[in-house]
């Protein structure tokens, strides 16, 4: 470690001193170097640095200075601990192992207008004490990013998760332990203003679900006058062991997606921000718009049936005309928000929608029970590949809603 560049400095007064004379101008100091550094990155909002130094102490009261010029250390977070390993230098050799130094911190003094502090440390003998100094360090930032390489048939992908550390803390650290709170611990040096990227996890053969979704509320229309809905294509990864992930929550970060081109190379097919994904949750990555799946959405029916006074039920039929111009069969997710439909045909009353599915609904199997809620409906529609003549079958589905007790 190049100590001369270090802005963090630990100095120990070599003479036994008492607090009243601790601040004399003439003093002899030793400069213990860092023996070990651990940079803990497991807290999402703070970086904890722990450094160990062997501090030579003499019997009596010692002064240990710690200074941190031009670095953003929170002085309130500095913790000084003796971690053992110290032995009396003046003890007999055979007694060393069983006769460690008894070291105690008496007080800490903070000089005015300086980024430093002075520990008054008492020791019952002379020798080296292994101490650990912990502090929160600002401007040491971490982020995560991913590289996903899908197989040519888009059934699996290889997901690599990288941690990137940017050291703007104005302090260089020699070979330091780096740990994100999960995955492996790295032992790397990181210099001032350096950025270091490390592979945290690599997941192979991760099943990928390719989804096409139309959702007028979430994704809108591709062509509003033609009533053509936008159909984004997503890669969906499930963060569990069954899907060869599930080691830890997936951190928020950019995912760059490539696809094997079948000729030994890869092509970049899109990127998206991967949200923080807890275990068992899905990471949905928006890859691009699927223009070969065409969905036209129209409202075929909007009728009011009075119950009494201003109280009525409303019948609404939403029609979907779907064509798949792809060479492959696909599954289309049709998602609708019932409240948005009511607002579309009758305006917003501010009340939740009480609704029932009526007889003209054509979606097979009913809405997805896991992912549908009191107002959000999700259906899965199987689409055959286009025919050999290049023509696509037009599949028509209807969503027939009885919206009840409105006024």
């Amino acid at each position: 470690m190049r100590f001369h560049r270090s802005l963090l400095c630990l100095a120990v007064a070599a003479a036994s001193v008492v607090p009243a004379t601790a601040f004399a101008r003439i003093k002899l100091i030793t400069l213990p170097v860092r023996e070990r550094v651990e940079i803990q990155l497991d807290n999402p909002n703070a970086t904890l640095v722990e450094e160990e130094r062997i501090v030579p102490l003499v019997r009596g009261v010692n002064q240990v200075d710690f200074s941190w010029a031009n670095t953003q250390i929170d002085p309130g977070t500095i913790v000084f601990r003796v971690v053992g390993g110290a032995a009396k230098a003046d003890a007999k050799a055979e007694a060393k192992a069983t006769d460690p130094l008894d070291v105690k911190v008496l007080s800490v003094s903070y000089p005015p207008n300086e980024a430093s502090l002075v520990w008054q440390v008492s020791s019952n003998g002379s020798g080296g004490a292994r101490v650990r100094i912990s502090y929160l360090l600002g401007n040491m930032n971490k982020s995560f990013n991913y590289r996903a390489t899908a197989s040519n048939d888009e059934k699996t992908l290889v997901l690599s998760e990288y941690m990137r550390i940017q050291n703007l803390a104005n302090e260089s650290f020699g070979s330091s332990g780096l740990w994100a709170g999960f995955g492996p611990r790295f032992l790397k040096p990181i210099g001032i203003n350096e950025t270091k990227e490390m592979l945290v996890e690599k997941f192979a053969e991760v099943p990928v679900k390719k989804t096409y979704t139309c959702d007028p509320q979430a994704h809108g229309y591709l062509d509003r006058p033609q009533n053509k809905l936008m159909v984004p294509m997503h890669y969906v990864l499930t963060n569990n062991k069954a899907n060869r992930l599930g080691a830890a929550p997936l951190q928020y970060g950019k995912v760059r997606i490539f696809q094997e081109d079948g000729h030994g190379g890869t092509a970049f097919i899109g990127e998206d921000w991967g949200k923080f994904t807890p275990l068992d949750d899905e990471m949905r990555l928006y890859v691009g718009v699927a223009q070969d799946i065409v969905v036209r959405r129209t409202i075929d029916k909007n009728e009011v049936h009075r119950i009494a006074g201003n109280l009525y039920n409303r019948e609404v039929v939403v029609k979907y005309e779907i064509e798949n111009f792809k060479d492959k069969a696909a599954v289309l997710d049709v998602s609708e928000n019932v409240r948005a439909i009511r607002n579309e045909v009758a305006g917003d009353t501010g009340r939740d929608v009480q609704w029932e599915l009526d007889k003209a609904t054509t979606f097979d199997g009913g809405p997805d029970k896991e992912k549908s809620t009191f107002e959000q409906l999700l259906y899965h529609v199987s689409l055959p590949a286009r025919g050999a003549d290049g023509k696509a079958d037009k599949i028509v589905h209807k969503l027939h809603l009885l919206i009840k007790n409105e006024w």
Binding site: Q40, D42, T77, D102, V108, D280, G309, T373, F374
Partner: protein, 481 residues
Amino acid sequence: MRTTHIFTMAIVASCLVATAAKAENVDLSTVPNRNTVQLTIYNSEDLTLVRETRKVSFKPGANPLQFSWANTLIDPSSVELRFLTHGDKLSVLDTTFPHAKPQMLYWNVQSELDGEATIEISYFTAGIGWSADYVCIADADEAKVGIEGFVRVTNNSGEDYEDAQVRLVVGRINLVQKIAELARITPQQVAELEDSAKARFRGDALRKAMDASLAVSSAGAMAPAAAPQGRAEAPKEVAKEGLGEYFIYTIEGTETIRAGWSKRMRSLEAEAVPMKIQYRYRPAEYGEQLVRMVLLTNDKESKLDTTPLPDGTVRLFRRNGRDGLTYLTAQPIKYVPIGDKFELNLGVDPEVIFDLVKLRTSRDELWMLVNGANIYRRVDRAGVQIEVNSTVAGWDDRATFAQRVRNYTKKPIDLEIRRTLPGHVVFRSELPVKNHDFQTVQYTANVKPGEKANLLYETVQRQGYNAKQNNVTIERAAIAP
């Protein structure tokens, strides 16, 4: 070390009378040193009571004493002189604040003594403060935590205090004027203050209060404990004792705190303090998120119960099982009386997933108000003719919710969830639920490691004509998923 004292106390040798306090241009003075100094520092106000003693030689007759405090933050109205020895032979005839010399006064002391006496000068100063902070290191399994408490004294008063006995007052006192403001005005302005008498009354009261504790604390705390042979000198003990509404920490021995410096000393230490983890959803307190809380109690079991915990910042770490620490949180706590609990919010735990899903909604109990008449008719009542000319006046909104909790930690977790439901509401569930207040319900659950809990409940919100109350009532009922 500073080479000049900002404070000076001088015995002026000129021949003086009370009305002509000193010679104009030619002076001779002697400067008695401080023998002892005691600082009583309050953390709720910028206030420190300083008592210093000096040995002074008096001659029979008038003895002028000059006391000055240039560039400090002393309240001139608070400066007092007492004779600790030979009080029966010494008396202050008058006190003069010279117009031309701010931050100075003269005492005209009448003496029947020809010899040395010990005097005590006391005053209030601003610029010295203290604060508490706590470093807590939890075990890796978060069952026990070691707690170290510290006090940090900061001296921005402009004066070095060497070898001072330091006492720290925990509690909130009442001040009618800020000491720092009083320190910035001249003694003449102080004398003109309408409420100067009140200020003195306040000072007297404080001194009396502190005197009552001094007899107890100084006897035990001033003598440093001898370190046993072969052991490191121990950190100084901090004696703690109650005094009325306050608590006083007396730091063993004396401390030197130079102007501009601050000094931090350990005030308490407790090992293996039991800690409890609870997951809470309380939007009014912690926002719209499930947070992980550490619950601690300042009681006998925790070994902290010897003193209230002063306001301060708590920094919590956990041993990470890899020979290091994990930083968890830093947050302020308010004063914790003996026996009371204190809590630390660790924020959202990424290993516990907390979702509220509304499963279904419906409306019933619909009532119509016939227009032009004060008549209400229920819509679904058999045989009742509903007027065409009527409007909806009352109804019940029903909603079924699933509170989904997934626990990916390695331990079972305790949940406590509060939901505020304004209006006239019925809360129906089989969960262990109770009213926290008239419009808030609180339910609890224990979720095992790896479990995915589905906590079901239904709310019935009575609206319009149906709303007769503004509260939540709880009904025990099974709710279908």
